[in-house]
């Protein structure tokens, strides 16, 4: 009896401070909400920045269209403008692609970007005939759904490597379109070039003054892209 009392006396009280764990859960949720809110604000800030950038390029493109319509100095100025537009749209494209894959931008921004690309595509085609610039045009159709297109990420990467090498050698324009978009002109392109699987690349070039195109389905590496690009460029010139 005495021993039992002694043991009781030396026993430390053990309890579970449930309140603390609940409060910690509340704090954790609060922290996540703070982080998420910061993220939303930050993403809307990026979206706004990209939208402004798209508008600036559209302005540049509009100026070129006005110049084309008036026929004044268009062919002198356009090659420089074309290069500038290419660089800007490329950067925007990479950013949009990455942010879209993480669901961080809305559909509107992507459609606006496709608008910009479509507008530029037609302007470049007009300029090709008018000014004999003959840039090599590559249309890249992809989808961000990894299940449907396992090789799309790799293809984007190979295209980027090829672009880095080609930029120094030939005038080049790359247009990247999400295959599952609701954009009507992009869907028209898909029909025209018979796009049914992803990734798909369409090389558009001139041969004997005639526009021709070649479609490649499935992953093709940067060397193959370079080889084709240079062949088509030779045919054009």
């Amino acid at each position: 009896m005495k021993n039992e009392e002694k043991t009781k006396k030396r026993k430390a009280k053990r309890k579970l401070s449930t309140g603390l764990y609940k409060l910690a859960f509340f704090y954790a949720v609060l922290l996540l909400i703070i982080g998420f809110t910061l993220g939303v604000v930050y993403d809307s800030f990026i979206s706004k920045g990209m939208e402004d950038e798209i508008n600036k390029i559209i302005e540049l493109s509009t100026t070129s269209e006005i110049l084309y319509a008036s026929g004044e100095e268009f062919c002198t100025i356009f090659p420089r403008t074309m290069k500038e537009i290419e660089e800007q749209t490329w950067k925007l494209g990479v950013m949009i692609d990455e942010l879209e894959s993480k669901n961080r931008i809305g559909e509107d921004l992507k459609l606006k970007y496709f608008d910009l690309q479509v507008r530029d595509f037609f302007l470049v085609k007009k300029a090709s005939k008018e000014c004999r610039i003959n840039p090599l045009i590559i249309m890249y159709f992809y989808t961000n759904n990894l299940v449907e297109c396992e090789e799309c990420y790799e293809q984007g990467f190979e295209l980027a490597i090829a672009r880095n090498s080609l930029l120094e050698k030939v005038p080049i324009k790359i247009y990247a379109f999400e295959g599952k978009t609701s954009h009507s002109v992009v869907n028209y392109f898909k029909e025209k070039y018979n796009i049914s699987s992803y990734p798909s690349l369409v090389f558009i070039y001139l041969e004997d003054g005639e526009e021709r195109w070649l479609k490649e389905e499935g992953l093709i590496n940067s060397n193959q892209i370079l080889e084709k690009a240079l062949t088509f460029q030779n045919a054009s010139s």
Partner: protein, 419 residues
């Protein structure tokens, strides 16, 4: 249709990342709640509870420490405690250097030196010391042979003992840091000390460090002494104290200074040993993971061990992502600012927010410990190393776990004196 390897890897990477972020956020929030509730109590002066000073035996396990043992013994002999109530026992665990001879020099000051024929580890040496302690001894203090105690350490220990107290962890700090690695460990020791102190209020102290701890001799005998198979016997003994329902406390005023690893390799070896010891102890005392042990089951037993896992998971997740995803900046040539803009997401923003919170928090914890040890508080000069500590240390812990796994597979077993 079966998923491809890329899909599986991306899936694993994402899962690990979100798992680690959620877990880290919860752990951070839990520590914050405990901290906010208990930190005012940490700064309070530890009150004396005893009427008469008990007889104290200080046990020093010794192995190949000829340089340090002299300072260790000198610090004990000059401690502010009645000499007639103090004995010092050195147990030399078959050292190969002159440690034994150095310790023998102190026999003329009343130090008892025992030499073991065979090297059997720190736990065995401590047990031999306890067995050879005076029958009058009520309190056993163990101190590593590379640590020195402050003059009031023994007094500050004994005043905290009561009938429910089985063990008291000392305020083990690092000796003066010379290199960046030592500085990092200095911060780590102080922060851990603070966290242990707030865990005391929840009966959740998971370790009584070898650097210096005090035990009730009765409690030690009741729990069966130190576990000789454990790589971290100082943790295993604390687990046993909890199992036998003894209180385990921390004294921030019983200060000792210990030697920390000077090279990164030695540091990693030590940490690998700690984790492996932690795994062994948890398997041995798995029944402590029961709610009947209250907060200890969740905090001392689980949280103290698992907090490195989410860090490890996050690093693995990012490594997987890097092997799949190529760097935008170099290949896609989109510029630094654009790369930065797309890589930063809400999780990174949250991490940055938490980093600043933790930075302030860690500085506060270190300062409290330094005030208690009457040391200088963090100066502006120290800020870069403290920032570096907060950035680098999670990564260091992140790589220790894979090392533990490799070590376990390659070569089980250990030798002590791995600092």
């Amino acid at each position: 249709m079966f998923p491809s390897i890329t899909e599986i890897l991306i899936g694993i990477s994402q899962l690990l990342y979100y798992f680690s972020i959620l877990l880290l956020t919860y752990i951070g929030a839990l520590l914050l709640v405990i901290y906010l509730k208990y930190f005012p109590r940490v700064e309070k002066k530890e009150k004396r509870k005893i009427k008469e000073l008990p007889f104290v035996s200080v046990v020093v396990p010794l192995y190949n420490d000829e340089e340090e043992i002299v300072y260790t013994l000198s610090s004990i002999l000059t401690a502010n405690y009645p000499k007639e109530k103090l004995e010092v026992i050195v147990v030399d665990d078959a050292s190969k250097d002159k440690s034994y001879e150095r310790a023998k020099m102190f026999e003329e000051f009343g130090v008892k030196v025992i030499r073991l024929k065979e090297n059997r580890g720190a736990a065995n040496a401590k047990n031999v010391g306890i067995k050879n302690s005076s029958k009058k001894a009520e309190i056993i203090i163990t101190i590593d042979s590379d640590s020195v105690m402050e003059e009031n350490a023994i007094l500050n220990f004994v005043k905290l003992f009561d009938s429910k107290t089985g063990a008291i962890s000392g305020a083990v700090r690092t000796k003066k840091a010379k290199s960046l690695l030592e500085k990092m460990q200095e911060y780590e020791y102080d922060i851990i000390l603070f966290v242990r102190k707030i865990f005391e209020f929840l009966h959740s102290i998971p370790v009584t460090p070898g650097g210096m701890s005090a035990f009730s001799k009765k409690a030690l005998e009741r729990v069966g002494g130190f576990e000789e198979k454990s790589l971290t016997e100082d943790q295993e003994i604390a687990f046993k104290m909890h199992k036998h329902n003894y209180k385990v406390k921390v004294s921030l005023e019983a200060v000792s200074y210990t030697t920390v690893p000077k090279t990164f390799k030695a540091f990693l070896n030590q940490r690998v040993r700690w984790i492996r010891g932690g795994i062994y102890n948890r398997i041995l005392h798995k029944n402590l993971l029961s709610l009947k042990y209250g907060d200890f089951a969740l905090l001392g037993f689980t949280l103290d061990f698992v907090y490195a896992i989410p860090v490890f998971s996050a690093i693995i997740s990012k490594l997987i992502e890097l092997t799949i995803k190529k760097p935008y900046f170099f290949v896609f040539k989109i510029g630094l600012i654009e790369s930065f803009l797309i890589y930063v997401d809400f999780i990174i923003l949250l991490s940055v927010f938490l980093f600043f919170l933790y930075f302030y928090w860690s500085a506060h914890m270190i300062n409290v410990i330094r005030r208690k040890a009457k040391a200088k508080e963090i100066s502006l000069k120290e800020l870069p190393s403290l920032i570096l500590y907060n950035i680098l240390y999670p990564f260091v812990w992140g790589i220790i776990w894979p090392l533990v796994i490799i070590k376990e597979i390659k070569s089980p077993g250990y030798k002590w004196g791995t600092r």
